[in-house]
């Protein structure tokens, strides 16, 4: 009764909260312009204020803002716009502009182009052009400059030689002080040196990325010298670490973008342009990202969206975004207001943006980040020379920009698939006919009941799991290029299995990754089960005091969102500032650089995942132990069986039916456990600790959205696990016989 009432209440809550937003008291007949953004804090506030002003001035349109998590933003746009659920206007950098323009998700804004020429810097507009069309109105410009602590640096360096000298002079590693701190392993920040050494990401006139040019090698050698010879950079720098050092007065200079100013507290600082590279006389020109207002091509209110976009970049709009949101706005006229034109932060970054190189908005750029990151990490950890690392990066980049396999006719494949399924059905039918006839009609009622009992679960699984699953398998026979799918038969599978771009022994090959994944699964499941079961056995003792407290404490790792705990673990593994290094130092053991070797990086992943995963197994084992009748132990006690004998002959065999499902499923989940690897080691060193599913993820979302290839990876994962489960079930079925 009570349960039913509770369910009814829940149902009404779910239904109630899922209903569309309640109609406003006064019906607003204006057409709605939906705005999506991932802004936070001051930038969000500025946007919301502008939308309120826009709405107050409008009689035809009414804008409404929706704030989204940045992590999910791009993929959500990709999914939502084609189905008509997307925004009318959205804020995004030029990063994916050419991809979206190619997929016809963006409405061109060409009528604004002529006027824009006067109002916005050429670089900002160039960033937003693709195929001769202008696709966005520039909101703000983000690029790097040099922050310096005025207490430590009187005059900022103008050349790279001066920068180096100042960095060395201000470094005292024993005191944890560094002359220069920035995320040197992030290509966004490194690109300035590449440009300063006269290099470019794209080689002309082919306009293809060329990562191993002599200039790129020189630039990387310069940073390597700063980090490994001068030892003036902190190791494994993260954004948080850089801010922490600068705020504590332990970093004299920082290379970062305008957003960093919001994190600085209690330090008197100046901002200067990045220096001129002494070897070439060229400025170290940072990469420029331009945040823009983009209009969806599927929007029914494009005119309204465009009106809002124009308002956001108008003098009034830009001034408010500069004042409230602290944005380095692209609108020139906003700087005629003295408070904006004389603002030290805004003018410093505006000056920096004038020298900056706009980031290329073509899809090829999307396959540059990952190889570059790997190269930077391997050089800065001392594992690789700049030449070797960049040659490797170039190869990796080429492998990622796959050449489209030849188009094939789907009919032969369809015919074969149809034949296989008919044969399979016929075979099943014969089998089940045999079984059913053997049991005849007494089972009819049971069959009906079984259908009744299973139908709800089966139907929801059919619709929400099996249908997307079939779509996924189907996709693996297609190649996605230029936004269109072409049927390529088994080409994706052949490329993967034949390891076309890599030797089998290389970390990027399917077989290497498969071996790592297997090792990962076996080691993790072994730890989860043994620790979980061990703790469950300790905690089931009815006479043990505080066991409720222990149980709750031990379940905490499962309870805290693992996004943050994984990153806390990564922090603990930090070579210089991590708790584990501190512990090792306290024990007079040389701290380990965890992510430079495969075995230590793998161990770091396993430790994190063991910590996260054992509570689940412990809970399952606690429940499963209850299925063992207590009197068996009492009888064994009477017979004088040792504790080990009891465990071996009572606990283990009787635990199996209830624990085995969790172990089998646990193994499947661990095989596909992607976020721990992604967050802790990030695949370092050199992608060797990546597992299959993180490869699939990268192909789908970070390497130019090659969904077909990612689906082929996923299908292979599926087939492999299917084969494994068939074998393991055979083992599971055989063992009871052996025990009996």
């Amino acid at each position: 009764m009570r349960a039913a009432a509770l369910l009814a209440l829940l149902a009404s809550l779910v239904a109630g909260s899922s209903a569309p937003v309640a109609a406003e008291p006064l019906a607003d007949t204006r057409a709605r312009v939906l705005v999506w953004h991932a802004y936070r804090a001051a930038e969000e506030q500025a946007l919301l204020e502008l939308i309120a002003r826009f709405n107050a001035s409008q009689s035809t349109y009414r804008a409404e803002a929706l704030a989204l998590p940045y992590d999910a933003y791009a993929s959500k746009l990709t999914a939502a716009i084609p189905t008509g659920h997307g925004p009318d206007l959205f804020v995004f950098s030029q990063e994916r502009m050419a991809v979206w323009a190619r997929d016809e998700l963006l409405a061109p804004l060409d009528e604004d182009a002529i006027e824009s020429g006067r109002e916005f810097p050429q670089a900002a507009l160039a960033a937003l052009r693709s195929g001769g069309h202008l696709y966005g109105l520039p909101l703000s410009m983000k690029c790097d400059a040099l922050y310096y602590n005025r207490a430590l640096i009187q005059t900022p360096p103008t050349t790279s030689d001066e920068l180096e000298a100042l960095a060395i002079r201000n470094t005292d590693r024993a005191a944890g002080r560094y002359g220069l701190a920035y995320e040197a392993n992030d290509f966004f920040h490194h690109a300035a040196w590449l440009h300063g050494y006269g290099g470019q990401i794209f080689a002309e006139p082919t306009h293809r990325p060329q990562l191993d040019s002599s200039q790129a090698i020189a630039a990387l050698a310069f940073v390597r010298h700063l980090a490994l010879e001068d030892r003036a950079l902190p190791e494994e720098p993260s954004g948080t670490l850089v801010a922490q050092l600068f705020n504590a007065g332990k970093a004299a200079m920082v290379i970062n973008g305008p957003w960093f100013a919001g994190e600085v507290q209690g330090v008197s600082y100046g901002i200067a342009p990045l220096p001129i590279v002494s070897a070439t006389g060229l400025p170290a020109a940072p990469l420029l990202t331009v945040e823009a207002a983009l209009v969806s091509s599927r929007s029914p209110v494009q005119a309204g969206a465009k009106a809002l976009a124009r308002f956001l970049v108008s003098t009034e709009g830009a001034a408010l975004r500069a004042r409230v949101g602290r944005q380095v706005v692209a609108t020139r006229s906003a700087y005629t207001f003295p408070d904006i034109g004389n603002d030290p932060l805004l003018t410093a970054f505006r000056a920096a943006s004038e020298k900056a190189v706009p980031m290329d908005n073509s899809p090829a750029m999307l396959s540059v980040w990952e190889p570059e990151k790997r190269a930077l990490v391997s050089v800065l950890s001392g594992a690789n020379s700049p030449t070797a690392a960049l040659a490797q990066a170039q190869r990796r980049m080429l492998a990622m920009t796959r050449i489209s396999p030849p188009v094939q006719s789907p009919w032969p494949y369809a015919a074969i698939a149809a034949m296989i399924s008919i044969a399979w059905l016929a075979w099943r039918r014969r089998l089940s006919l045999k079984r059913v006839t053997a049991r005849v009609s007494t089972r009819r009622g049971e069959l009906m009941r079984a259908i009744l009992y299973c139908a709800p679960a089966a139907s929801s699984i059919l619709v929400l799991v099996l249908v997307p699953f079939a779509i996924g398998i189907g996709l693996s026979f297609f190649h996605r290029a230029d936004g269109h799918y072409t049927f390529v038969g088994l080409a994706n599978f052949i490329d993967i299995l034949a390891s076309r771009d890599y030797r089998v022994s290389e970390p990027m090959s399917f077989w290497f990754t498969l071996a790592v994944t297997l090792l990962w699964t076996v080691v993790n499941v072994a730890f989860h089960v043994s620790i979980g079961l061990g703790l469950a056995l300790l905690l089931k003792n009815p006479l043990l005091r505080f066991k409720g407290v222990y149980r709750v404490l031990l379940v905490i790792p499962w309870a805290i969102p693992n996004y943050i705990t994984a990153l806390v673990w990564k922090g603990m593994f930090h070579r210089q500032f991590g708790a584990i290094s501190a512990l090792l130092s306290a024990l007079h053991i040389q701290p380990v650089s965890w992510f430079t070797g495969f075995s230590t990086a793998f161990a770091a992943n396993v430790m994190t995942n063991t910590w996260l995963g054992f509570p689940f197994m412990m809970v399952v084992a606690l429940g499963a132990l209850q299925s063992i009748p207590q009197d068996l132990y009492e009888a064994a006690d009477v017979d004088g069986a040792s504790a080990w004998a009891q465990f071996r002959h009572i606990t283990l065999p009787l635990l199996k039916p209830a624990l085995l499902p969790a172990i089998i499923l646990g193994a499947v989940w661990t095989f596909n456990m992607f976020n721990i690897v992604y967050l802790v080691s990030g695949g370092e060193p050199g992608g060797s600790t990546d597992i299959l599913v993180s490869e699939a993820y990268r192909w789908a979302f970070q390497r130019n959205e090659q969904f077909g290839f990612a689906a082929a990876y996923s299908t292979l994962i599926f087939l492999f696990l299917l084969g494994w489960s068939a074998i393991s079930r055979r083992i599971a079925r055989e063992q009871p016989l052996e025990n009996a």
């Binding site: 829940l10 779910v14 998590p69 999914a79 679960a457 379940v555 499963a624 209850q626 006690d637």
Partner: protein, 284 residues
């Protein structure tokens, strides 16, 4: 006799459990440290995670954040999360328990295939499912709704729940049901009155699992939900991770707040988990 034997044993168990708990809780202390450190400059480095000067500013900021219409958004999102997680548990466990009972007790064609299919559904990487799922939910008009999210989560939880419950049902002796049948009970009564009470530990495990499935998930939720007032807490926390910078302090504070209800749920469930009901039930 056993009493006397337990005492020194119990001490050894405590001596084993205390360091394990300490190891388990140490990373949690870092999360607490992040949550209590008002500014990144004062983050501790070294072995002791907690800051010298703790402050509750992150917690306060998080709890007092309001959306554009002035609503206290955190409370709203907490309620969303509770509704979705509780509904997921109710729906997921109900659907699973019937299916698992059928799979354990009835024999019918396709039974093996059903079990294998359930396992197989777990094998295709979830990351590839989100785009097709989006299209399906769109067809069903379940996008941007907590009901849609609940159905997706419940379905995700079913395979484990069915496997776990079926495994447990298999260990419950059929003699009890046969005895009830002789006493004139219907199949439905046997299921509700005999089997379910005996399966309480497994029900507790599956309930906790379903709850957790819904409670901590953010990738699908962020994809399917648009409106901030319908965000679940993990999505709201993910909003703190920006393109260029992340509010780690608030994130950590939020993560701790998010984990508190889970511990309460676990505390409430654990007496069923270790109820020891079967021991008595089977004896007879």
């Amino acid at each position: 006799m056993s009493r006397v034997k337990q005492r020194p044993g119990a001490l050894a168990v405590h001596l084993l459990l205390i360091p394990v708990c300490a190891l388990t809780l140490y990373p949690v202390l870092w999360v607490i440290g992040l949550a209590l450190t008002p500014h990144s400059a004062h983050l501790s480095a070294g072995l002791w995670p907690l800051p010298a000067h703790a402050s509750l500013i992150h917690v306060r900021e998080l709890l007092s954040s309001r959306n554009s219409s002035g609503e206290l958004i955190f409370i709203r999102q907490l309620i969303n999360s509770l509704v979705v997680a509780t509904a997921t548990t109710a729906v997921g466990v109900t659907l699973s328990v019937t299916a698992a009972f059928a799979l354990s007790r009835f024999s019918f064609p396709g039974r093996q295939l059903g079990m294998s299919t359930l396992l197989a559904t777990q094998m295709f990487p979830a990351t590839m499912m989100s785009v097709p799922l989006y299209a399906i939910l769109n067809r069903l008009h379940l996008l941007d709704s907590l009901a849609g999210l609940t159905i997706v989560y419940a379905t995700t939880a079913i395979p484990f729940c069915v496997w776990m419950l079926k495994g447990y049902f298999d260990t419950i002796p059929r003699e009890l049901e046969e005895a009830a049948l002789v006493d004139g009970a219907t199949q439905g009564q046997i299921f509700l009155r005999v089997v379910l009470p005996l399966a309480r530990p497994a029900l507790a495990v599956t309930a906790l699992f379903s709850f957790m499935t819904a409670w901590n998930e953010f990738v699908l939720a962020a994809t399917f939900i648009d409106d901030q007032t319908r965000f679940t807490l993990p999505v709201a926390l993910q909003r703190l991770v920006g393109e260029y910078q992340t509010e780690w302090g608030q994130f950590a504070a939020g993560a701790l707040l998010v984990s508190a209800p889970v511990m309460l749920v676990f505390f409430a469930l654990q007496k069923h988990l270790v109820g020891g009901l079967t021991a008595g039930g089977v004896k007879g």
